[in-house]
């Protein structure tokens, strides 16, 4: 099948070779004095499981993943249901939704860095007025609130993505089952729960999968806003792998961490596909 050759070549060069190299790298480490990679056996893996910072990064990543997935899913669906009507002006709103998606995440991070600035950030100001947070508490420099501060940026940028997918899904649903349910005596809430959401399940599954994978490799916002701090409170797996690889020049250990990240993504994604019975 010669027509497959270009595709296979691309796949080999950009996916399969790096993957194999990554696995190979996780059994090696860069030796600065020798200026080369040396074989270290399972040392990286053994270190990893005893590394407190790895476990901390894993827990940060999973909290970030779970909280944001739930928030963006629920918020996205609510906004989609709201905007999926023919009220004048909502068309414009639906169009505006895509705006946040064209902003590079690093820029969004910078924006929220300013918004949450302890000196002049508008969010700090508002929270102070509301009495939620004292203006002497810098959001991004306090370990209990730093991750929440980053989550805000992610929610702002990516909830519209959910909304767009859900609106597209809602618009493609047939109207008749809703009408039939109405005549069957169902209330709006019952129709949503028993008819609309089940019909949307495939769309929801796709959105969860795309966003879920994105969230598990979270990097940009932490990198720009907190560099993982304060302490290790916003270090995700990706950021930790980056630090080990490029700041500490521990290529083997960095490769090991990213490999674990990959396994987690594959595992969760496939479990999800299996349990939701999504057929592509």
């Amino acid at each position: 099948m010669p027509w497959l050759a270009p595709l296979v070549a691309m796949l080999v060069v950009f996916t399969i070779y790096p993957l194999i190299y990554n696995v190979w790298l996780s059994f090696h480490e860069y030796a600065p004095l020798k200026r080369s990679l040396v074989y270290v056996g399972a040392e990286n893996w053994i270190t990893l499981f005893g590394d407190e910072r790895f476990w901390s990064a894993l827990s940060v990543t999973l909290s970030y993943f779970i909280v944001l997935l739930v928030v963006q899913l629920v918020l996205g669906m609510l906004i989609a249901l709201l905007l999926d009507s023919d009220i004048a002006g909502f068309g414009v709103l639906r169009g505006l939704l895509s705006l946040t998606l064209v902003i590079p995440p690093a820029i969004t991070g910078m924006m929220f860095l300013l918004i949450e600035d302890p000196e002049f950030g508008v969010l700090t100001f508002v929270l102070d007025i509301l009495g939620v947070l004292d203006s002497t508490t810098p959001i991004l420099a306090t370990s209990s609130t730093a991750l929440l501060g980053i989550m805000l940026a992610d929610i702002w940028q990516w909830t519209p993505f959910m909304v767009l997918i859900f609106i597209a899904g809602l618009r493609s649903l047939p109207q008749e089952p809703n009408e039939a349910a109405m005549l069957d005596g169902a209330s709006a809430l019952q129709i949503l729960r028993r008819i609309t959401l089940p019909m949307m399940s495939k769309v929801i599954a796709v959105a969860v999968l795309i966003r879920g994978i994105d969230l598990l490799r979270a990097f940009d916002y932490m990198f720009v806003m907190t560099s993982g701090g304060p302490g290790t409170s916003t270090y995700t797996l990706s950021l930790y792998a980056w630090q080990q690889t490029f700041s500490f020049i521990k290529w083997g250990y960095g490769a090991t961490i990213s490999l674990v990240g990959l396994v987690i993504v594959l595992l969760l994604a496939n479990l999800f596909i299996y349990f939701t019975r999504v057929r592509w």
């Binding site: 008749e176 039939a180 109405m182 005549l183 069957d184 005596g185 028993r194 008819i195 089940p198 019909m199």
Partner: protein, 354 residues
């Protein structure tokens, strides 16, 4: 068990008038068919009855209670949609049980009623299946089951058979009608198929451009169509129309068109000299060597039981339906007679029946 009354009902979509001051009374337990070509407003009228469309003007009431502002879920109306509208994520059982669950009936009660309904519709073996695993006819029955299981006051059918093949359609016609005879619920059935209307209805409401052309029993609609439109719409092949005038021959009224003279019954209400359209049903034309309608056979159309003879007579194109035994060659001269009582006369200007 309900009377449905429409009084001066109007429906506009923007500037387009779809239903215009329509008034109609549907009596308890009757099977009414709304018949008309696509776009005549029949489905809109049905959806307004169900509450799925707002009413621009006028009033729809069920058992004397104004329905305009009543939410669809509170109207106690069951509807079968054209594309069935089954809940795609539920099994047939769940589809039928849905309305009962909403009513918060007990598990046992629901099971019993769903199974009874399924038995009537021959769906018992398919209760666990998803809608996508059913054939068209089974989906249709599942949709009917969903409507039947409720004790609805009014049943609405929106062209429910239009997606089925001809054989199944004929079968379902009988089933739906038998179902009605058994349930005795007021039924409003929308179709563009005159055969469905004729075979199923107690009363046919023939609609045209948002107004009622004629309300009548199937027999009356066929035998005494109120207008040229009604005469043309019902019957296959369509009625033959000839333009002409009424003349008096020795005191007896007769219809005259070019060289053709057709004697009319003596009590014919048409006045001499009146410009009329004369309607002759193809099935009422009988081959008769001495008949007044003479022509040349142009085309033969065999339908199995009968043969439709297309012939030209004095520049008119006419069709006669004869028995299949008639073997006449193309180009042969033929002649037909008609019972004077079977001649339909319409005023040329108003196109209403005389």
């Amino acid at each position: 068990m309900a009377n449905v009354t429409y009084s001066r009902v109007c429906k506009n979509f923007g500037s387009v008038k779809v239903i215009d001051e329509l008034s109609l009374e549907i009596k308890d337990d009757t099977f009414v068919v709304l018949l008309g070509a696509s776009g005549c407003g029949k489905t809109t009228l049905l959806r307004m009855t169900a509450g799925l469309e707002t009413i621009t003007n006028g009033e729809i009431s069920i058992n004397g209670v104004r329905m305009n502002e009543v939410h669809p879920r509170d109207r106690n109306i069951a509807m079968v949609f054209q594309n069935y509208a089954l809940y795609p994520t539920m099994s047939v059982f769940e589809n039928i049980a849905f309305s009962l669950e909403i009513k918060k009936l007990g598990r046992e009660e629901i099971k019993k009623r769903v199974e009874e309904t399924a038995a009537i519709l021959n769906l018992t073996d398919y209760l666990h299946r998803q809608p996508k695993e059913l054939s068209g006819g089974q989906r249709q029955r599942a949709a009917m089951g969903r409507a039947m299981v409720r004790d609805a006051d009014v049943f609405l059918f929106d062209e429910p058979l239009s997606n089925l093949d001809a054989k199944l359609r004929a079968h379902m016609r009988v089933e739906i009608r038998q179902l009605h005879d058994r349930l005795k619920a007021t039924t409003i059935y929308v179709t563009h198929d005159q055969v469905e209307a004729m075979t199923m209805a107690d009363q046919i409401v023939l609609m045209r451009n948002g107004i009622i052309e004629q309300t009548a029993s199937p027999d009356e609609l066929y035998n005494r169509p109120a207008s040229k439109f009604a005469a043309d719409f019902v019957g296959t092949p369509s009625m033959n129309f000839l333009e002409g005038s009424i003349e008096s021959h020795n005191g007896a009224p007769c219809f005259s068109n070019k060289g053709l003279q057709l004697p009319l019954p003596p009590d014919c209400p048409a006045k001499a000299g009146q410009a009329v359209i004369c309607g002759l049903r193809p099935t009422d034309l009988h081959p008769d060597e001495n008949g007044p309608i003479k022509g040349v056979l142009r085309f033969r159309e065999k339908t199995g039981a009968e043969t439709n003879l297309h012939f030209s007579s004095m520049d008119n194109h006419l069709i006669a339906t004869t028995s299949r035994d008639q073997e006449i060659g193309i180009g042969a001269n033929i002649a037909f007679s008609i019972d004077a009582r079977r001649i339909h006369l319409f005023d040329k200007n108003s196109e209403r029946r005389i």
